[in-house]
Symmetry: C2
Subunit: 365 residues, 2 copies
């Protein structure tokens, strides 16, 4: 099923989730991923497309393939715990896809939480893991709170810095509710993701103040600012970027200084045409996962009843004309329901990239 | 030693830390705090004044006293664990000063971390606990990472809300280093603290965009906006307040939905002239504390050497002309060193409040 949507600009093609799943899984298999890993990597990657985070889904498949071609991804990693206590662990991703390493490490956190109430896992020697929210949400089915973070290629300037020293370093927190849909926060610690700048570039539009600075460190509304030697600004932008910087720093420290991954400017770039540092301070990039059983604090039913009340109260708040108050996770959950049913729209350049990737492995869309 | 500083406007009086400590301790004793609690509460409260967070220090002593007079603070609480697993606990603050309950609960987190690698404690039935950073920093001496959060009286509107449903809900994370000074992030999840609006009010100045909205939910530069039915904006302000809202929500859930404290609009107000809700959803206000041994992830010396490298790298980054890149905690540490030596400057209205408080208990400044 491929439906052209003539009214949308730029041109998109819609593929069913099933079709896109089969294609992506075949590509990962072609790279040499064991079957179980190919399926897992596909589920992790496509969770971004389902949830409407198009910048982190199949649009990146070609990027993963190129990293693998450059010998920078191990398609069949032996992921394992290298250091632990009853409630903590370091997991070595063995250079694998973060899409596979992430869920395995989160499983370690869940197992530890089952045993001692909470589990906290820092990961080294990994690669990009898709969207943080997917990993945090793994806790929900177990009546646990899930936490996921990752560091990423340096694109962000700390407050007053001319240098890019941090990634967009996202934080996700998923909290189970009872009758209400779960609470799922998934946010970059920058004001805007780089993907939003790319959209503005394509449309030749200026960007809002507080998103980026130019090469001289001056706030800029030029969508090409980051490309031309500038940097993304931490969350808080013009009036409070020290807070976003602080949060991004915590993500970097928890993900990499705790585990022994690369941090700050040493985080390996996602794009294969940029080389990783010749003097790394650790192995690969890093993640951090957490899980807390809600019944490690109070009976789960009691917790979930109050969580329902929390959600219902916030959702019912009197709102600005024409708007209503959202609960973190609402837009993504709604998009997911629609896309599971109606398919996932892909921009023409993404479709072209997928065809390129498919041709490498003899897989057809 | 009381030195008038004629050049500073508005007029300030400088008291030595020792003098202010003795006075504050005597006031807490006068309220009926056991000796140990009076000393602990004083240390906690004055850590704000030392670190330059003047809005959260002795300036609030009169507020605590009024709450006590209104029967809303228990001066001699029996603080205890009511629910636990090896790595988690709920602490009941028995209506005590957060300044006393907080350190006791953090101690539970530290003890659990010593045993099983990490400890996570949610607290109910407490009151305001001073600055979050003080509590997180308790972990540093033990080569642990410390985390502290608290909910607070509702002053903040979630994105699109006309109602105030969250407090300024701060997050603090303290990370030990080796040769370098420790990393200490301590931030409200709003763009600006209410104290900054009060300063602008006194000076009759407008506030920057992104700090507040008016009663109609429109962004406002009027320093009286919050007073007149408006609200503080979550971190991210005009272009990303959904992220600050999400972070503030996580603080509220971890501090109160996990523990059984009041959350959202039910959080009891700090000021005694506003009554708490007649239909509370929990007990008192809530905090959340965490501690992770760094050697629960890798050898402590190794961690601290990399943390030193992280800090040195960020501090040395090329910076905007006339500035340099700060590490979270730098300004507060520097202020603390100066004020320990030179004393703590107090504004005239604060000094007057202290004299009022002192006269209640027959204590002289």
């Amino acid at each position: 099923m491929r439906l052209r949507s003539p009214t949308t600009l730029p041109m998109t093609t819609t593929l069913s989730y099933t079709q896109l799943f089969a294609f992506t899984e075949a590509v990962f298999s072609g790279m040499g991923c064991p079957d179980e890993d190919a399926t897992l990597a596909t589920e992790t990657l496509l969770s971004a497309d389902l949830r409407g985070v198009d910048s982190h889904g199949v649009a990146r498949l070609i990027g993963y393939v190129r990293l693998w071609e450059a010998g920078r991804i191990n398609a069949a990693p032996r992921v394992g715990v290298t250091y632990e206590t009853p409630s903590t662990a370091v997991v070595d991703g063995d250079g694998g896809l973060g899409l596979v390493v992430g869920p395995r490490a989160m499983q370690v956190a869940l197992d530890k939480a089952r045993q001692v109430g909470s589990g906290w896992v820092s990961v080294k020697n990994s690669n990009h893991f898709g969207i943080a929210g997917y990993h945090a949400m793994k806790a929900l089915a177990h009546d646990m709170i899930g936490v996921a973070m990752t560091n990423a290629s340096p694109l962000v300037a700390p407050t007053y810095s001319l240098e890019r020293l941090l990634g967009t370093n996202p934080i996700a927190v998923a909290v189970p509710a009872g009758e209400q849909p779960d609470f799922v926060l998934d946010m970059a610690t920058t004001t805007a993701a780089n993907g939003k700048l790319e959209i503005a570039q394509r449309k030749n539009l200026p960007i809002p103040e507080g998103w980026a600075q130019d090469a001289a460190g001056v706030g800029s509304t030029d969508a090409n600012a980051v490309k031309n030697g500038g940097a993304l600004l931490p969350l808080g932008g013009a009036t409070g970027s020290h807070k976003g910087y602080g949060l991004g720093a915590v993500v970097d420290i928890f993900s990499a200084v705790l585990s022994g991954a690369n941090y700050g400017p040493w985080v390996p770039p996602f794009v294969a045409f940029l080389q990783p540092s010749e003097n790394p301070v650790g192995q690969g990039l890093g993640h951090f996962f957490g899980a807390m059983r809600v019944d490690a604090f109070r009976p789960a039913d009691e917790f979930k009843a109050h969580m329902d009340n929390w959600i219902a109260t916030f959702r019912a708040a009197q709102a600005v004309e024409g708007h209503h108050v959202l609960i973190p996770g609402d837009p993504e959950r709604e998009t997911s329901a629609v896309r599971l049913l109606e398919g996932i729209p892909l921009l023409e350049p993404v479709l072209k990239d997928l065809e390129t990737v498919g041709s490498k492995f003899g897989v057809k869309l």
